[in-house]
């Protein structure tokens, strides 16, 4: 999944129908959504910014566990669907990583077990969370005067701590978030060589990014049936995780509301109405990095006090199978009711839909 890069839209794009107003939602000055920029046959789509205004509230923090909120761990398995590559930044000789290639761009790994750094995964999930909620536009390279009014980065001030939904969960400058992403570790010592063609830089000067000089949306790459493999002569050899390679991690969370947890679950593709996959690492335009998430278990201490006096959680606090499904379903419903912007979700689910029949672009895109 792409980091949210600021997109400004085309002046010739179609205007979609406005979203349904949600009961009790705080409304901003304008209720019209930004028109969806026309990305034509590009390998990415654009999720318009919310027009409901940023929903800034006092964050709950971590100073103590709240009994009316959820704390615990989500055990996740990420199964690679299309070749994936999280670059370590080191170009090595093939023999250094037991692979047949003269030179190879290596992935982040430990003893040939591939790793997705927790920070990479957090970025992927955060950018999606921002797009789905009434959150600020902060993780961006856009200039300050290109940010639409009211969408600027949340600021922590001494006398007034109010931040957007994404900053409440993932943190802001000067404020620690409620979720922690440890590294996702590959489950077997097996990697393969893939070949990635040279990619093109983002053309931010393209008029499709323009909406009266302001950023109008967030950019996400489509999934593809299969990643482009340009072949040895044309591609850059990369150390990749092949199809069916599995990464595992345990996402830790503290003091989340049911809706916040539900939104995370929607992003992780657990909402059957909006089946989605994550897009992680390099080569996104050419179909790389699609991963389907399975929530294997949820640890959720029912009694926070007893959690500190017992090393092992009781079975009732360790949800799997049917109880886990029921819990996730309830949380997802809460997310739809109070946190998720349905219009943005529809657009995002269209872009990140999985499974897909979409081919990856072979040539110029």
């Amino acid at each position: 999944m792409s980091k949210s890069k600021p997109i400004k839209k085309s002046s010739q794009s179609q205007k979609p129908s406005p979203p349904k107003k949600r009961v009790g939602a705080k409304l901003g000055a304008s209720h019209q959504p930004n028109p969806i920029p026309d990305t034509q046959d590009k390998p990415y789509g654009l999720v318009p910014l919310t027009t409901q205004g940023i929903d800034r509230q006092i964050p709950v923090g971590q100073d103590k566990f709240k009994h009316d909120r959820f704390s615990g761990k989500l055990h996740l398995a990420l199964t690679v669907q299309t070749a994936s590559f999280v670059a370590s930044g080191v170009v090595a000789m093939g023999r250094d990583v037991d692979l047949k290639a003269d030179l190879i761009k290596t992935a982040v790994h430990q003893k040939n077990q591939l790793i997705i750094p927790g920070s990479s995964l957090k970025g992927v999930v955060r950018s999606t969370y921002e797009a789905l909620t009434r959150s600020c536009l902060c993780k961006t390279k856009a200039k300050r005067d290109e940010i639409p009014k009211g969408h600027g980065e949340c600021k922590i001030q001494k006398d007034k701590i109010e931040v957007c939904p994404a900053c409440r969960v993932f943190g802001a400058m000067g404020w620690q978030g409620l979720v922690a992403f440890p590294d996702a570790v590959g489950q077997k010592v097996s990697t393969s060589v893939g070949f990635m063609p040279s990619l093109y830089r983002p053309r931010t000067e393209n008029p499709m990014y323009q909406n009266d000089g302001k950023v109008s949306g967030r950019k996400f790459y489509y999934h593809a049936v299969k990643a482009v493999n340009a072949g040895e002569q044309r591609g850059i050899p990369v150390q990749q995780a092949g199809q069916a390679y599995v990464f595992k991690t345990a996402l830790q969370f503290k003091n989340l509301t049911e809706a916040e947890l539900g939104t995370l679950l929607v992003i992780l593709g657990q909402d059957s109405d909006y089946p989605m996959a994550l897009k992680v690492g390099g080569g996104k335009p050419i179909g790389m990095g699609s991963m389907v998430v399975t929530v294997e278990a949820l640890e959720k201490p029912g009694n926070l006090k007893s959690r500190y006096t017992h090393y092992v959680l009781p079975d009732s606090d360790h949800l799997t199978d049917e109880p886990l499904k029921r819990f996730m379903q309830t949380a997802i419903v809460a997310a739809h009711q109070t946190l998720i912007e349905e219009y943005q979700l529809k657009e995002l689910a269209r872009i990140l839909a999985w499974p897909t029949q979409r081919p990856a672009p072979e040539g110029m895109y």
């Binding site: 370590s88 930044g89 080191v90 090595a92 000789m93 003269d102 030179l103 850059i236 050899p237």
Partner: protein
């Protein structure tokens, strides 16, 4: 708990090597980012056996197959430049990968200074002596030698009629000794006399007695 950090200081000669590399990189307009990439490689594998030798193999591979990973035709030229500069200045450190890492690390920093702080036309390459040359120079400066002077030497090596003497624990000189070679053994301490001096006063030739 205290954490001890190993001393990470360069010797005077290593500083000169770092400076010479930096100057050469700027003169040849080599992209310092490519040097940084090779440093990342060395840092990743510095702890393994023969890391220094593998580093030189790596530079050769970059020259040979750099077009695979490069983004422009210039990239391979940069790799050629890096390979020749490292071969020129760092061969003595082939068995000391951590020292290569330190020297190149400082060279990348110095590149910034020479690139931005000094007009390119004014930068001249400098010649640097090896660690061994520096040690010999130090011994020469600390002693006064004369032709005919007798001194003690250790037989460091014997190859057919050639004998390598080591004097003052540093200076090694090889001399044809057809009459003596068969009588000497390696490690033996013998007396030699100075047969010739260089212009700077250092020993050019010694003969066994």
């Amino acid at each position: 708990m205290s954490t001890e950090i190993a001393p990470l200081e360069l010797t005077e000669v290593q500083w000169q090597v770092a400076e010479a590399i930096a100057r050469k990189l700027v003169i040849e307009r080599t992209d310092v980012n490519e040097l940084r990439k090779t440093l990342s490689y060395l840092r990743e594998y510095v702890d393994r056996e023969n890391a220094g030798k593998a580093f030189f193999d790596y530079l050769k591979t970059l020259v040979r197959r750099g077009d695979q990973i490069g983004h422009s035709k210039k990239t391979v030229e940069y790799y050629k430049s890096l390979d020749s500069i490292c071969s020129e200045y760092l061969k003595d450190y082939q068995d000391k990968a951590p020292q290569i890492l330190m020297i190149l690390g400082w060279a990348t920093r110095l590149v910034k200074y020479y690139d931005k702080g000094v007009p390119t036309g004014e930068i001249q390459p400098i010649t640097v002596m090896s660690e061994r040359e520096a040690a010999i120079q130090a011994v020469t400066q600390a002693n006064t030698f004369e032709v005919g002077q007798e001194i003690e030497a250790t037989v460091a090596a014997i190859k057919k009629s050639k004998v390598t003497y080591e004097i003052l624990g540093t200076i090694r000189l090889t001399q044809k000794e057809p009459k003596l070679a068969s009588k000497l053994t390696e490690g033996q301490t013998v007396s030699v006399y100075i047969a010739d001096l260089k212009n700077d006063g250092s020993i050019k030739r010694i003969k066994g007695i």
